[in-house]
C-alpha cells in the first residue's frame, strides 16, 4: 500500500487554532501542496493578513511576514520587488482584501505585481466576531447587520474577481469553492496554476476561495458548506476569469 494522501511538507506540525470545520485549514493544505508540488519551500515568502489567518505563519513551514490589516499586497510588493527570484503570496480574508485593503489589492493587480493572492471569501469578519463584510450576502444577518444586510442602506456585495477583471494587470483570476471534495480538488488546481503563473513571470494571480465560517454563521460545519453551495455560489459564480494564453498547461 502506498500513501496517496499525506500532509504536505510546507505545513508545519502545529495544530491550527481555527474553529472545528473552518475551511481555512483546507485552503492552507492546498497552498502547501502547491508549494511542495513546485518545490518552492526555499524561495517562498508568505504574507499573513490580519484576520483569522493572522497566525498562518505558524502553520506554514515558510518564511513569513505578518502585514497590517489590508496591506498584504503592499508588503508582498515590497518583498517581491527586492527579491524578484522569490515566490511571494498573500493569504487574505474578505474584510482584509475587499474592505480596508481594497486600494492595495486593486493597485497591486493593475501594476501586474508578480505575486499570488489567496483570497478567502467567507462573507464575514471571522476574527472579530462576525461583523458584516463587503461580501456579506443581501439579507444575511451579522453582528453589525443584525436585521439582515439591507442593500437599500448599506449597498451590495463586491465581486472581487469581476472587479479585478476590468484591469489589464492581472494574469490569472479564478473563483473556486470549498463546499465539496470535487470543488476542493478544483481549488487545488487553481491554486497551483496561480503559483505557476507567478513562477513563469506572467504577472498577478489571484484565487478567490468561497469558504465557510461555521462559528459566526451559527451553523454546523456541514450546514455551512451547504450554505456556501446554495447561497454563495449563485451570487459568486465559479470559474476562471482571466488566464494567460501562453501559460504552459498545468500538470497538477
Amino acid at each position: 500500500m502506498q500513501k496517496v494522501f499525506e500532509r504536505p511538507k510546507a505545513l508545519s506540525d502545529k495544530k491550527m487554532h481555527y474553529c472545528p470545520g473552518c475551511t481555512h485549514g483546507i485552503v492552507h493544505r492546498l497552498v502547501a501542496e502547491a508549494i511542495d508540488h513546485f518545490g518552492l519551500q526555499e524561495k517562498t515568502i508568505g504574507v499573513a493578513p490580519v484576520g483569522c489567518a493572522v497566525l498562518a505563519y505558524e502553520y506554514f513551514n515558510l518564511d513569513f511576514q505578518e502585514a497590517a490589516h489590508g496591506r498584504a499586497p503592499a508588503v508582498a510588493t515590497g518583498i517581491k520587488r527586492v527579491l524578484p527570484e522569490s515566490v511571494v503570496f498573500t493569504y487574505q480574508g474578505d474584510g482584509d482584501l475587499a474592505s480596508i485593503g481594497l486600494a492595495e489589492i486593486v493597485h497591486a493587480a493593475t501594476r501586474g505585481e508578480k505575486i499570488t493572492v489567496i483570497f478567502i471569501n467567507n462573507a464575514i469578519y471571522g476574527m472579530t466576531g462576525g461583523q458584516m463584510a463587503p461580501t456579506t450576502l443581501p439579507g444575511q444577518k451579522t453582528t453589525t447587520s443584525p436585521y439582515g444586510r439591507d442593500t437599500s442602506r448599506v449597498g451590495f456585495p463586491i465581486r472581487v474577481c469581476e472587479l479585478l477583471n476590468t484591469l489589464d494587470g492581472p494574469a490569472y483570476l479564478a473563483r473556486v469553492s470549498m463546499h465539496d471534495p470535487k470543488n476542493v480538488l478544483q481549488a487545488g488546481k487553481a491554486i497551483k496554476k496561480a503559483f505557476q503563473v507567478q513562477l513563469e513571470g506572467k504577472g498577478f494571480s489571484l484565487v478567490e476561495v468561497l469558504s465557510s465560517c461555521p462559528t459566526n454563521w451559527g451553523m454546523t460545519p456541514n450546514q455551512a458548506l451547504k450554505w456556501v453551495e446554495e447561497k454563495m455560489v449563485p451570487y459568486y459564480p465559479l470559474g476562471v476569469f482571466r488566464t494567460p494564453e501562453e501559460v504552459s498547461s498545468c500538470d497538477a
Binding site: H17, Y18, C19, P20, C22, C52, G126, M127, T215
Partner: protein, 177 residues
C-alpha cells in the same frame, strides 16, 4: 468585606455567565460590583475566565491577581489559579473534569462533580450553576434569590424558560456543601 472571585474554564462551559450572575446579584443586593472577562487567543474553545468583585466599598481594581474565591471548571484553570488564591480563600473545582495533583491546606477546597450532577438533571450545560451553588453556599457572597433575579436580567428573554433548570442546578450545588 470584599469578595474577589475568578471563574475560569473552557469557552462554552458558561464561566462568564456565572461571573455575571454573581455580579448582578451583588448589585441587586446593594453591593458594589464589577465583572471583567479575559479571553484566550483561540477563536472558539480554549480557556477563558472572568474576575468578579463584590464589595461593601467602591470597587478599586476590577482585575484580580489574588482572588479569595475561585471556581475552576477545567484542568488548566485549576493549575493556573490554585497557586494564587489568598490564604483562607475558597476554591471550588469541577471534579468531573479535573484531577487534583497538588493541593493547599490553607484554603477551603471543594470538589464538585459538576458535570455528573448536571447530567443527573438532564442537561450537562448547567454544570456551571452547580459549581456556583457550592461556591455560594460556602461563601455567602450573594443569595440564591439574588441569583434568581440575576438570571432574569442576564439571560435573554427567549432563554428564560431555562431559569427553573438553572435554579435547580444551583440548589443541587448548594446542597453539596
Amino acid at each position: 468585606m470584599t469578595h474577589e472571585i475568578i471563574c475560569a474554564g473552557f469557552g462554552g462551559q458558561g464561566v462568564m455567565l456565572i461571573g455575571q450572575l454573581i455580579a448582578y446579584a451583588g448589585m441587586v443586593e446593594g453591593k458594589n460590583v464589577s465583572w471583567v472577562p479575559s479571553y484566550g487567543p483561540e477563536m472558539r474553545g480554549g480557556t477563558a475566565n472572568c474576575s468578579v468583585v463584590v464589595s461593601d466599598e467602591p470597587v478599586g481594581s476590577p482585575v484580580i491577581s489574588e482572588p479569595n474565591g475561585v471556581i475552576a471548571m477545567n484542568q488548566p484553570s485549576l493549575e493556573r489559579f490554585l497557586p494564587v488564591v489568598k490564604p483562607g480563600g475558597v476554591l471550588v473545582y469541577n471534579s468531573s473534569l479535573i484531577t487534583m495533583k497538588e493541593t493547599r491546606d490553607d484554603l477551603h477546597i471543594i470538589a464538585v462533580p459538576a458535570n455528573e450532577l448536571a447530567t443527573e438533571l438532564g442537561n450537562s450545560k448547567v454544570s456551571n450553576l452547580v459549581a456556583l451553588g457550592a461556591f455560594l453556599q460556602k461563601t455567602n457572597v450573594v443569595t440564591a434569590d439574588g441569583i434568581e433575579k440575576a438570571l432574569e436580567k442576564v439571560l435573554p428573554p427567549h432563554r428564560h424558560k431555562l431559569i427553573p433548570l438553572n435554579l435547580e442546578a444551583l440548589r443541587k450545588g448548594m446542597a453539596l456543601v
